[in-house]
């Protein structure tokens, strides 16, 4: 009988380490390649145990979770987390609702409306796709000329890129923080340092351990609850004006660098958590 299913579409260090941790703990782990999966939506599948959703493809991740959860399988994280955390605007609204400080933002629904909002609110601003990852297509708009060019180029793209999400450019040290939450606890956190204003590890940022403060943990618990998450990566910035602000919650967080620099066995903690949750 399967205790935990790891649903993946690409085996990264994270997925391998979950499998290894499961072997050490004597947990029955099933690895399921989502690319090979066809789910009969009329029949509850047997023998999944608790599913840890690890698909790197956003759409595959979201739809597989919707199907399995709808069929009565417990998936970590749940569909709502995938929907909410997968969209920067949805996350923003929920963070505000739950009293979590987050950078100010404006949404505009056409090029002209976006340029008008930028004129009113001033430059620089950061334009982010509401759905997107690894820092892709996130641009800093320094002035009207750059904004016109960048926003115009989005007019030819898939419609999601015509939802213009404009975020304040937060003045901060050249780093941000990634906190890994397993349930109501930050199990480890890192600074992601970068000379570039984008600090994503995938863009070459470097990691070092970050001390977890009570303020940070309380903020991250609220952020996790805002998106109804179980295991999430919360990204924070140290704003010169506002102190800590949360700018993103990651539904399928990567943790390779966090484990490497903090020495915390995150995969084991994830499995312990998965076995404890109600199915």
């Amino acid at each position: 009988m399967t205790d935990v299913t790891i649903l993946y579409d690409s085996i990264r260090w994270e997925e391998k380490s979950l499998l290894e941790a499961g072997k050490k703990k004597n947990i029955n782990i099933q690895m399921v390649d989502c690319k090979k999966l066809a789910l009969d939506l009329e029949k509850k599948p047997e023998d999944y145990g608790v599913v840890i959703q690890r698909c790197v493809s956003y759409y595959r991740n979201l739809h597989a979770t919707a199907a399995l959860e709808g069929l009565g399988v417990k998936v970590i994280n749940c569909l709502n987390t995938g929907v909410f955390a997968g969209n920067k605007l949805f996350t923003h609204m929920l963070l505000k609702k739950f009293g979590v400080p987050t950078p100010d933002a404006t949404v505009a629904f056409s090029k002209d409306a976006a340029l008008e909002a930028l004129e009113t609110n001033g430059y620089p601003k950061v334009i982010k796709p509401t759905v997107g990852s690894w820092g892709r297509l996130i641009s800093k708009l320094n002035d009207k000329e750059s904004a016109e060019g960048i926003i115009e180029s989005r007019e030819t793209m898939y419609p999601i890129y015509q939802i213009h999400y404009l975020e304040e450019f937060v003045k901060r040290p050249p780093r941000d923080i990634r906190a890994i939450m397993v349930g109501d606890k930050i199990v480890a956190a890192i600074y992601r340092n970068s000379e570039h204003w984008k600090t994503n590890m995938s863009l070459g940022g470097t990691a070092e351990p970050c001390k977890v403060t009570q303020e940070m943990e309380e903020m991250c618990i609220k952020a996790k609850n805002a998106v109804q998450g179980d295991i999430v990566g919360v990204d924070l910035m140290e704003s010169e004006e506002k102190g800590l602000v949360v700018h993103e919650v990651n539904n399928t967080t990567e943790y390779k660098n966090t484990v490497r620099v903090c020495g915390v066995d995150i995969p084991s903690l994830m499995l312990d958590y998965a076995l404890k949750v109600e199915r």
């Binding site: 085996i11 759409y59 759905v131 690894w134 892709r136």
Partner: protein, 55 residues
Amino acid sequence: MNCPECDAKLNIPEDASVGEIISCPDCGADFEISKKEGSNIELKQAETVGEDWGE
């Protein structure tokens, strides 16, 4: 095992599992291990990074 693209020698770790991505050190092509039975390994072209990939 050699790279199906450029024939360079691929370094496939002993504990590599099905689904894992192997990159060729010479040409940089990515392959996914599609089958592994003992030392018998089959590769297929890895998916290119999708527009919706990441977190």
